[in-house]
């Protein structure tokens, strides 16, 4: 049994569902929260601070019988852009891809500007995903045009 195999087995395998791998350790609990997994009745296996060649420490979440929608994948990408999404069918990997930051996110994030029309009139939020001059990811509100950093992101 090689090292990788042993590591994988630290969190039980699932028959059908999705594995979210390569989550930075300090983001793993946040990923659980934004996906509302606390209230899920699906079987969930979760490991954190596992050794990772790429990240030093990583988190992994395995959710049985659950396949994520684009909106949910966008949420994961905003919090943990390094994450890998693996879909499992009958213990076999049927799809494996890195999440990637979309150019545009709708409905999933609240604008941090209390005077923004989206907060006052309860309108669907829309943001462009942009980079500042240092290359840091920011969200620019389609309506009030304010940009917010990761630290201000509050999911709906």
């Amino acid at each position: 049994m090689d090292n990788n195999k042993r590591k994988e087995l630290k969190v039980s395998a699932i028959r059908n569902g999705t594995v979210i791998d390569h989550i930075p350790s300090d983001k793993a609990f946040q990923v659980i929260k934004i996906l509302n997994l606390e209230n899920s009745s699906n079987q969930i296996y979760f490991g954190n601070s596992l050794e990772s060649k790429k990240f030093g420490k990583k988190g992994i979440i395995k959710i049985s019988d659950k396949y994520f929608k684009d909106e949910e994948i966008n949420k994961i990408a905003l919090v943990a852009p390094s994450a890998t999404l693996i879909e499992i069918t009958d213990y076999e990997v049927t799809k494996k891809e890195n999440v990637h930051l979309p150019d545009y996110v709708e409905k999933i994030v609240k604008c941090f500007n209390p005077k923004c029309v989206t907060n006052i009139q309860g309108i669907t939020t829309k943001f462009n995903v942009v980079q500042d001059h240092k290359g840091t990811m920011k969200l620019a509100c389609h309506y009030c045009e304010k940009t917010m950093g990761k630290e201000s992101i509050e999911f709906l």
């Binding site: 005077k115 001059h133 309506y143 009030c144």
Partner: protein
């Protein structure tokens, strides 16, 4: 038919360089002859959810010089907003009564939203602390008129560069014309990094100063701003900086001959009254230019022939 027809104007970035020039050229025609009865079959709605003297009067004047009718309200107190009506419902209703809606609203982003729900075009006359594109167009008109061109201007912006929406839009617009920017402000009111990123992405230069006198020999345009108390979350912070940058006539001695002083108005005390008689003072003419620019905008959007 021009591509501005039936299009809302929410943010100055909605317009390309050519479209900006198109509006300024048309505004020149209105400066030559302001009383053109070309709007007499139209109704313009003027919805001011918060008070504004000059922007509202300037728009109403623009409509009336062209013979148009104007309906609307000057504050939310007299509208059904008080009864709790949503912005969407107000816009949808008023669009039944008018060909074009001019709107000022205190909510940031309200103009973009209104433009998405409205069947008639919206002109943003200020949405909270966000955008005020017609101010930007009249600033551009004033710069072009006094300097002969908009290209390669050295513009100094002074005062509240953090909260002042007019300077942010003006930076975005002048970036299309290869301006060099000089920002003069107290430390707590410096230009936000998002605006500086915009300049860098346009491959242009900006310089920052705290002493106003440093830019006097360089600037073609001195764009003064009011330090606005209502934009400060902390009144103490406002008290500390409100008198920081006051221009008086003696300070203009070393300025360039072509230099003009602009200000979006109203001023409080940031330009001493002794500047008013200096030929370099241009702020009242600048406000007058606002009417020509708004006439041009309405004419372009409603496809009126001169």
């Amino acid at each position: 038919m021009s591509n501005l027809v039936d299009r809302s104007l929410v943010s100055i970035t909605d317009y390309s360089k050519d479209e900006i020039i198109q509006i300024l050229d048309l505004a020149e025609e209105f400066e030559k002859d302001q009383r053109r009865q070309i709007l007499n079959k139209h109704v313009v709605a003027s919805l001011f959810f918060e008070p504004s003297t000059r922007t509202r009067l300037s728009f109403e004047s623009a409509v009336q010089y062209m013979g148009g009718s104007i309906i609307g309200f000057a504050s939310a107190d007299t509208s059904s907003i008080r009864k709790g009506e949503s912005l969407k419902d107000t816009i949808l209703t008023v669009s039944n009564y008018s060909d074009l809606i001019v709107m000022r609203n205190p909510m940031d982003g309200s103009a973009r939203y209104a433009s998405e729900v409205s069947p008639v075009p919206i002109i943003n006359a200020g949405d909270g602390a966000n955008q005020h594109p017609t101010q930007c167009l009249l600033d551009l008109y004033s710069i072009r008129k006094t300097q002969g061109s908009l290209e390669n201007i050295n513009i100094a912006m002074i005062g509240d560069l953090k909260y002042g929406r007019t300077v942010h839009s003006l930076v975005q617009a002048l970036s299309l014309f290869d301006a060099t920017f000089h920002f003069v402000s107290p430390e707590s009111l410096k230009m936000p990094s998002s605006v500086k990123t915009w300049i860098k992405n346009a491959g242009l230069e900006y310089h920052q100063y705290t002493d106003m006198m440093d830019i006097m020999p360089i600037a073609d345009i001195l764009y003064m701003t009011r330090i606005q108390g209502e934009r400060f979350p902390d009144p103490l912070e406002y008290e500390k900086v409100k008198n920081a940058y006051i221009l008086d006539n003696s300070m203009l001695t070393n300025s360039k001959d072509n230099m003009k002083v602009l200000h979006p108005l109203p001023r409080v005390n940031e330009i001493n009254e002794d500047v008013d008689d200096n030929p370099k003072a241009y702020y009242f003419q600048q406000a007058k230019n606002g009417v020509y620019v708004r006439q041009a905008l309405i004419a372009a959007i409603l496809d009126l022939k001169l």
